[in-house]
Point group: C2
Chain length 323, copies 2
Amino acid sequence: MSKNRDTFFSEEDFLNFLDGFFEQREGLVLGRGDDCAIIKAENEMLISSDLFLEGFHFDMKYFSPYAIGYKALAVNISDILAMGGIPIGFTMCLMINKRVANTTFFKDFFSGMASLCKEYNLYLAGGDISFSNFLGIDITILGKKGKRCLYRKRANVGDLIFITGDIGLSRAGLYAFKMGIQDRFKIATKSHLMPKISYNESRAVTKNPFVNSLMDVSDGVLKDIVRLVPEGMGANLKIDNSMLHPEVISMAEILGEEPSVFAAKGGEDYVLMGTIKPDGIRELNKDISGFKVIGEVTDDGKFLLNGRKIQGGFDHFRYTETY
Amino acid sequence: MSKNRDTFFSEEDFLNFLDGFFEQREGLVLGRGDDCAIIKAENEMLISSDLFLEGFHFDMKYFSPYAIGYKALAVNISDILAMGGIPIGFTMCLMINKRVANTTFFKDFFSGMASLCKEYNLYLAGGDISFSNFLGIDITILGKKGKRCLYRKRANVGDLIFITGDIGLSRAGLYAFKMGIQDRFKIATKSHLMPKISYNESRAVTKNPFVNSLMDVSDGVLKDIVRLVPEGMGANLKIDNSMLHPEVISMAEILGEEPSVFAAKGGEDYVLMGTIKPDGIRELNKDISGFKVIGEVTDDGKFLLNGRKIQGGFDHFRYTETY
């Protein structure tokens, strides 16, 4: 390799470069380089896949290469945590266009991803690369079960609905970027680019026996709450400004939206949302600093936010948000 | 659902449609619908991911929706078979553009994929969907170990190199489509659209104790042979017309290429290629109808085809084929 070269000469060259960022770890029996990777497995494993596509999930105007690598993996880690599991490794397929096919880009991209691998002890178990019209990352993450496996749709009427952190922050950050006022929204924009990983929150939730369902908020509370509560039940959400981050309130005011509605529509915060019998609240509140009760599970099949009916949220087939 | 509607109204609508094609099977503890799927696992598992992208891996001018669904999964199944493993299930991420977001397309697409699920008893363990600029499929396949796990780079000098079927057929089919003469290349075009699954071949190979390495031919023998033999060793390939399908020879003649070179450059046949001690040849030849010995592992680090030096093959970073 010449010292100053920035382009990859071949697929092999690219893969050798990649190898420098991802360490061999316990649990990975055979890494990249054969037709399959081989992993150690337990009795049952968690598995989930998420796409992260330029122009659809991220905008290269705002995202640094480091943040793209970070978030592509972070959203997948979140799916394992959302079931109370422990992430252990992943496969990665990369769709690369000419614009990013250089070492400058991928040094930062892989560094962002590798920072999470180091923190959570994850291995990379192979994948695929192809040229494409745009940059895209598809990760399949593997996890083992935590203390307990927590599912959606296991709540009872009267359970409280909680979240483990700030909602609406990522959405506020996205709007701040779009409006060119990111300097006034430092926490929100950070949250959009590199969402907080709810690892400790997931551990705290699984050790609380009163929690009976869990998911992560990826498409916004308004949409996700309908997926959380069992068929036939509803939710009465009560969110006031005291539960919201100041930057979320600021952005809602700029847009002339009600802050609670703005926040409840916001996707990509990757906080955990779950249901808990009221008896367990005190302990969870002690264990999780961002813990907030935002409502109650009801028996009437209706979904209300501050008394008003919820009509929908973000849908990947519509590109529209409705409320 | 109205009877004649052809569009999907929402992501949920799409996923409900999808559910009709993929059965719950043994080994899938929790299917689609939560943050993760849960699968039964063994002590060690095989895992592999492959992209299948419109314009890069398939052309919608030639590929029916059925063939796209079929081949996207087939190429992944091949990776498990290439290690002597048994495929058990997969996750699927779909990148969908407006052009294909209709039930007509996806009925055929899912049917092509489901035909393989039925034949090989595979489950779908969730995934993701997103709109995109083009149609793309990314599958991560899981497998369990077969009788033996067979790796690359385990050959010894003097081992024979074998393939389990026809090479160059898929390439001949692609050229036939490009030239508009597909009617004269029925086997080759079929092979390009819906490659044969080497399931029985993989079973036969793993039970033969003389086989010591294995892979599938996805980028062509010329490129893949370098990945098969151990560092420092070489290969002396001898391929003559008697080993080639008549349609491969016809296409090479049309193009003015040497048939053996044309065939050895051809990717996407997904036959298995391996090395075997000479003592095991007779039995494998009996067990595998398409069995052919195409060369020998040498000690000099050189790669020769019919006495001429091999310079390379298909590279995903170059788009060029060299010989």
